[in-house]
């Protein structure tokens, strides 16, 4: 066995799981797990774990966008932060441009980190209120020894005008800006070190509708201009679908479906994705009459349901259970009601596997083909 930090992980993607988006991966995430201990009692004994991220694998291609979508608590934010090592991973591996990112230490880590940045959801709490905008953007430039003094100020001015702000604003403080402008400052700061990968964690969720599209277009322009890859994390499926080349849907710490944005909309394979798609309200006063409403309890990441984590809410397994023999079904209680589900969904975790459709369209469901 070779002496790397993660000897068991293979980076070779099986053909069936290769994403149908062109380009070489800039970031390869393999079997990533992030568990948080649950501590109780006087001695803070660990009594269990919240499995926030539980075996997640994907590639992000250079200059492309992978959208990561899911409900609150599904682990999507933790994925972004674990990749950047803002939260330590429990296990798994992240390879950045072919190099084992988790193995880096000290100066080398700093050098690599320059190329990987993050944009946060909340443009208020993610900017230091006591620093001028010029210093917020200029600090990383100085810390990484790229420029100082006048040269640094020129870079800051260039970044501000690139994100659509007056360079004269460099002397102002964050509270003098509106939400959309603050998000532009956050973007300028992320751009300061010329990254080629940015984690965008709900970058437009806190903004007004008319401002969201400005920021999305700006991110889109920057991607084309600078060939930046994005991991775009959001709960709004319409936004993710619009913005991403490829989309991964997360549920309770796992990816349950991944496909190109177009394919995912046209041909969803996981019943959870189907429910999400049906639930997005569309700006149409004559909506499709029927919407799927999920019943049952949302599982928790500290105590996820057995088998397929979605079986407690899954309308498909309940539907299929009606046609199945007594040996193949189990009765469960979820959300105070009793349901019959397929035994297989209750007992065994479905693998993420190729489904009928585009090559690379994978989903984790025992029922759909």
């Amino acid at each position: 066995m070779t002496q790397t930090t993660t000897p068991t992980v293979s980076y070779a993607t099986p053909a069936s799981q290769r994403a149908p988006v062109d380009g070489d991966p800039i970031l390869e995430v393999r079997d990533l797990r992030t568990y948080f201990p649950i501590r109780r009692g006087v001695f803070s004994r660990t009594v269990g774990h919240v499995k926030a991220v539980d075996g997640v694998s994907f590639d992000v291609r250079g200059g492309k966008t992978l959208g990561l979508v899911g409900e609150s608590g599904c682990g999507k934010t933790t994925v972004g932060r674990t990749i950047l090592r803002l939260i330590p991973a429990t296990s798994g591996a992240v390879r950045y441009k072919g190099e084992d990112f988790f193995a880096y230490r000290g100066e080398e880590l700093r050098r690599l980190r320059r190329q990987m940045q993050i944009i946060f959801q909340d443009p208020v709490s993610s900017l230091n209120p006591r620093m001028t905008v010029g210093n917020i953007i200029g600090e990383p430039i100085e810390v990484h020894g790229i420029a100082r003094g006048r040269q640094r100020n020129e870079m800051v001015a260039g970044l501000l005008s690139r994100v659509g702000l007056d360079p004269a604003y460099a002397v102002r403080y964050p509270h003098e800006f509106s939400g959309g402008q603050r998000q532009r400052v956050g973007i300028a700061r992320a751009l300061a070190l010329s990254p080629d990968f940015i984690v965008c964690d709900e970058p437009v969720s806190a903004l007004d509708v008319s401002i969201q599209s400005q920021i999305l277009n700006l991110l889109d322009d920057l991607q084309r201009e600078r060939n930046i890859a994005y991991l775009f994390i959001a709960h709004n499926l319409a936004v993710v679908e619009h913005f991403s080349d490829e989309v991964a849907v997360m549920y309770l710490g796992r990816i349950v479906e991944r496909a190109t944005a177009r394919e995912l909309y046209a041909n969803p394979k996981h019943p959870y994705t189907m429910a999400l798609l049906s639930a997005v309200p569309e700006p149409n006063p004559r909506p499709a009459r029927r919407r799927i409403v999920l019943k049952g309890e949302v599982g928790s990441a500290s105590n996820p349901p057995s088998g397929c984590p979605f079986h407690t809410r899954c309308p498909l397994t309940r539907e299929k259970a009606k046609e199945s023999g007594a040996n193949d079904i189990v009765e469960i209680t979820s959300g105070g009601e009793r349901f019959r589900v397929l035994r297989k969904c209750h007992d065994e975790l479905p693998p993420l596997e190729q489904k009928q459709g585009e090559p690379g369209h994978v989903a984790a469901c025992w029922v759909t083909k």
């Binding site: 969201q212 277009n217 889109d220 700006p283 029927r290 409403v293």
Partner: protein, 389 residues
């Protein structure tokens, strides 16, 4: 053609020319200016707009929840079932709040008291407004939780807010608001903090309770999808005023105000990949620094486009932020009123064909929407998606 079902009689709630001001250290700001609106029994009227447009202040004014000072009602009336709420003594107002008009807020975590059980809080609301025994109040509370789809309501009454998920807490808020069977529910961004699957459940619940009880709903939101699927009638607010008013079908089929048009085009839609989003330039105006004339002229694509080919004496150069541009003099100087530019469809924009000849519109309509989405549970989701396509 849109069919209008007219319910007989007067609207349940009529807001008539409401004006609200806040007196601050830096002078007076006017979060609500000349707002009129009417809601009929069983109807959902949506008030749409972005932060600072005055939609929440309008809602709070209906319940007279604006602290005075610094707030001040500068005139107008809020008539509920014939009574002017703005003129009602505070003691009578207390029986209106919660009992006849209830409100649910965006944040289910901060609107519930963390040190009391769910049961204590609902029972308090019930005993405050209804003269019933403690046992009876508990039964009402239990029924209220059951009505909003909470399983095992008896046990849930003994739980604290932190023991529940966000969706569950929002249901508790709704249960509390509905426990006294109000005739009007004001829902201020009721689902903004929730996930889409939970949002769908909550909206379905509100539609069901409305059907069963004939309750009127004032739905305040910035989400045009939620509006399109739930409202009968829509008022779009911008810079403290109603700038467009129409039935939900008319508003989405042929929006008239450039702001509404811009908002509709700026929203990413499912299955519209990789098209560039259209944007509204500039930022949402701060009520402390509204521009002159039409408050939208600093961001309006229509006035800029028309100014490019207009005679020089009708054009002024102006600036917003760091940008300088030319707009029509009239848009810069004169604030337009809401006029009926199409049948029963009002918009406040000088540059709509026929605007000057159109009569001033009082936003009031008993219209009911044509298509109501129907929630389905326990069906094969593949089938549902098939009929969508």
């Amino acid at each position: 053609m849109a069919s209008t079902t007219t319910t007989n009689g007067r609207p349940l709630l009529e807001i008539d020319n409401l004006n609200v001001a806040f007196n601050t250290d830096r002078g007076q700001i006017r979060p609500v200016r000349d707002v009129s609106l009417a809601i009929h029994e069983g109807q959902t009227v949506a008030v749409v707009g972005e932060s600072g447009c005055g939609k929440s202040v309008t809602a709070l004014s209906v319940l007279r929840l604006i602290p005075t000072p610094p707030g001040q009602y500068l005139g107008g009336a809020v008539r509920f079932d014939g009574r002017d709420l703005l003129a009602l003594p505070e003691r009578d107002m207390r029986t209106v709040r919660g009992r006849e008009i209830a409100m649910i807020f965006q944040e289910p975590m901060t609107s519930l008291n963390p040190v009391y059980t769910i049961g204590d809080q609902i029972i308090e609301a019930v005993t405050l407004h209804q003269h019933v025994s403690a046992t009876k109040a508990r039964d009402i509370a239990e029924d209220a939780l059951r009505d909003v789809g909470i399983a095992d309501p008896g046990r849930r009454l003994g739980e604290y807010p932190h023991q529940m998920s966000g969706g569950m807490r929002q249901r508790v808020m709704i249960a509390m608001a509905l426990s006294c069977r109000p005739r009007l529910l004001i829902a201020d961004e009721p689902t903004t903090a929730l996930d889409v699957t939970i949002q769908a459940q909550i909206l379905e619940l509100l539609r069901k309770l409305q059907r069963e009880r004939g309750m009127a709903i004032m739905l305040i939101t910035h989400d045009l999808g939620v509006v399109a699927e739930n409202a009968d009638v829509v008022a779009v607010m911008y810079a403290s005023r109603v700038v467009e008013f129409a039935t939900v079908e008319d508003l989405f089929d042929h929006p008239q105000h450039p702001y509404t048009q811009g908002l509709l085009r700026a929203v990413p839609k499912l299955n519209a990949h990789a098209q560039r989003l259209e944007t509204i330039p500039g930022t949402v105006p701060n009520p402390a620094r509204f521009p002159s004339g039409c408050k939208f002229h600093t961001r309006c694509p229509r006035t800029r486009e028309l100014a490019a080919s207009a005679p020089a004496d009708q054009v002024v150069e102006t600036s917003s932020g760091d940008e300088r541009f030319r707009v029509l003099r009239r848009c810069h100087q004169e604030e337009p009123a809401l006029r009926e530019v199409l049948p029963r469809h009002g918009a406040a924009c000088h540059q709509i064909a026929g605007y000057d000849a159109a009569p001033v519109l009082v936003p009031r309509s008993a219209h009911r929407r044509e298509v109501t989405p129907e929630a389905v549970v326990d069906v094969n989701p593949e089938e549902v998606l098939k009929d969508r396509a």
